[in-house]
Symmetry: C2
Subunit: 317 residues, 2 copies
């Protein structure tokens, strides 16, 4: 999918492994486990492709792309501490294998490395963008916490939440990539907005998949979100439009949700049309993303980004 920047992505992979090469066996093993856990490397790919829109040689973007993925990994390892997750992407988590202590410090170590990589560019605004985004992502985690088992939230709360949870880091990946290229301020802004829309479409689709994909595709049980009290867009829709919304509201408010009731919520959400509604909104964001791309220089990078945009909303259906 990221064919155009495959060579650079391999270098990011190597740079990530380099970044976590420490004399401390546990830290190294936990970090290697994290890196090998894979993931789509979306953030590095977006940084690289965004730079590639404006220049041919993008080797200079590799440290930045590496830092972005390290930040993403650090948030994952910290999330696992908190959620007490045992599996992520179908593999055991660092937390499950090495415990809280290793997870917290490995996350901090990786975050600090990301900052050090970014400082190398000698441009304070890059560090500032990353630091402020990290803070905002923390705020997002708090918002998500507050919204758990709380059906009294609206579409706006949901959108703000996923903006901080997902769209923000994708958006600044695009922005930072462009900032390392000869892009104009206006172009950087457009790339950033593209990343925002793409990220929103991505997370909404993710939230839908949690209801309808099978366990193997997800790497975790279907309906994990609702079981954890996470009320995402399909459920919010059902809370407004399902004939059983009273019952759904009661179940969704209960941290002691039974397995049986969780299944019934999932069925109720699907029956309400919440899935279709969510997919439409995701498609709208993708459409805006594609419109923004049209303002950017044509070429292979733009074509890649267009293909990725389509893929993001249509994956696994």
């Amino acid at each position: 999918m990221f064919g155009l920047v495959n060579r650079e992505l391999k270098q990011v992979e190597a740079a990530m492994l380099d970044s976590i090469d420490t004399e401390i066996a546990e830290l190294r093993e936990a970090s290697v486990h994290l890196v090998r856990g894979g993931g789509k490397r979306m953030r590095p790919a977006f940084a690289l492709l965004s730079a590639r829109l404006f220049m041919e040689r993008i080797d200079s973007v590799i440290p930045m792309a590496t830092a972005l993925e390290l930040i993403h990994m650090a948030t994952l390892v910290h999330d696992d501490v908190i959620d007490d997750s045992v599996l992520r992407r179908g593999r055991t988590t660092v937390k499950a294998t090495w415990g809280n202590r290793v997870s917290v410090y490995a996350g901090n170590y990786i975050l600090a490395r990301a900052m050090a990589l970014t400082a190398q560019y000698q441009r304070q605004e890059l560090v500032e963008i990353l630091a402020l985004a990290s803070m905002d992502m923390c705020v997002g985690e708090f918002r998500q916490m507050e919204s758990g088992f709380n059906p009294e939230q609206g579409l706006k709360d949901y959108l703000r939440r996923i903006q901080r949870k997902t769209a923000l880091l994708i958006s600044i990946s695009c922005k930072l990539g462009a900032m390392l290229s000869p892009a104009t301020a206006q172009q950087i802004k457009t790339v950033e907005r593209y990343g925002h829309c793409l990220g929103m479409a991505f997370q909404i689709t993710d939230d839908v998949l949690d209801y309808v994909a099978d366990e193997k595709t997800l790497g975790k049980p279907t309906g994990s979100d609702i079981r954890q009290g996470l009320i995402t867009l399909p459920a919010l829709y059902a809370l407004e439009h399902s004939p059983e919304r009273g019952q759904l509201r009661a179940w969704m408010s209960s941290p002691e949700l039974t397995r049986q009731h969780a299944e019934e919520i999932i069925d109720g959400v699907i029956d309400s049309g919440g899935i279709d509604y969510s997919l439409e909104l995701s498609e709208k964001y993708a459409l805006r993303a594609r419109k923004l791309l049209e303002k950017l220089p044509p070429g292979e990078a733009r074509d890649s980004l267009a293909r990725i945009t389509d893929f993001v909303v249509h994956r696994s259906f």
Copy 2:
């Protein structure tokens, strides 16, 4: 004790509260709890005084001094997650009141803010120094983890451990303060080494206090370290020199240490002369610190640092 920079320290205090002023009530309350928890503000004071050695007006050092204390606070709140501590400095911890989730994210939030404050100076080497120190502090935590309940460690392991745990951040506080002043490269190096020696003396004294001070002075029970498997200098000495070293070794290796055996270890360590030995080493570091000060410009700042050096090794005796 830090009289000369009292005015600036008050501004650091205000800047810390400013830094954590967020719309998220839980994050704000937890952070305010942390800031109000106090502590000696040693790191900001060292940064300010180190700059003051070389210039009169040190307002420009305030953001850096604030960042240093924020980093220190972030490590404390993360440590509490891991140690499951209920009390710190005699107050309940964030972890005990707000739980793991708030503690991890509050720590990350505060760390990111520290990086953003540092980026403001537009000097990449400042961010790099902080980021690399953060990484090294994480490595130190891993080393401390490995050394738990392990009597097979030597003086060198201990010294490296406390270097990362304490001396490093004090040392770079001094260094960064001097870097924001007109100090020469040689002077910056001297200030950094002063901070290292002072930090080592400080931590060794701290480790001694854990054996001999009362609960009220410590804000935690006497002998906390050994109960947690933390073998510090007095115990290391006892493991070499006590007539009961075989028994001590067996007890110190056991994560199921009973209260009774912990008391006996404490008595055994005190009887072995481990306290006196440790205080002598602490005094040696303090002496080196004072020697280094002599190379620096005379004046009120140097006098303050000399007084602090004396205080650090003689406090609470």
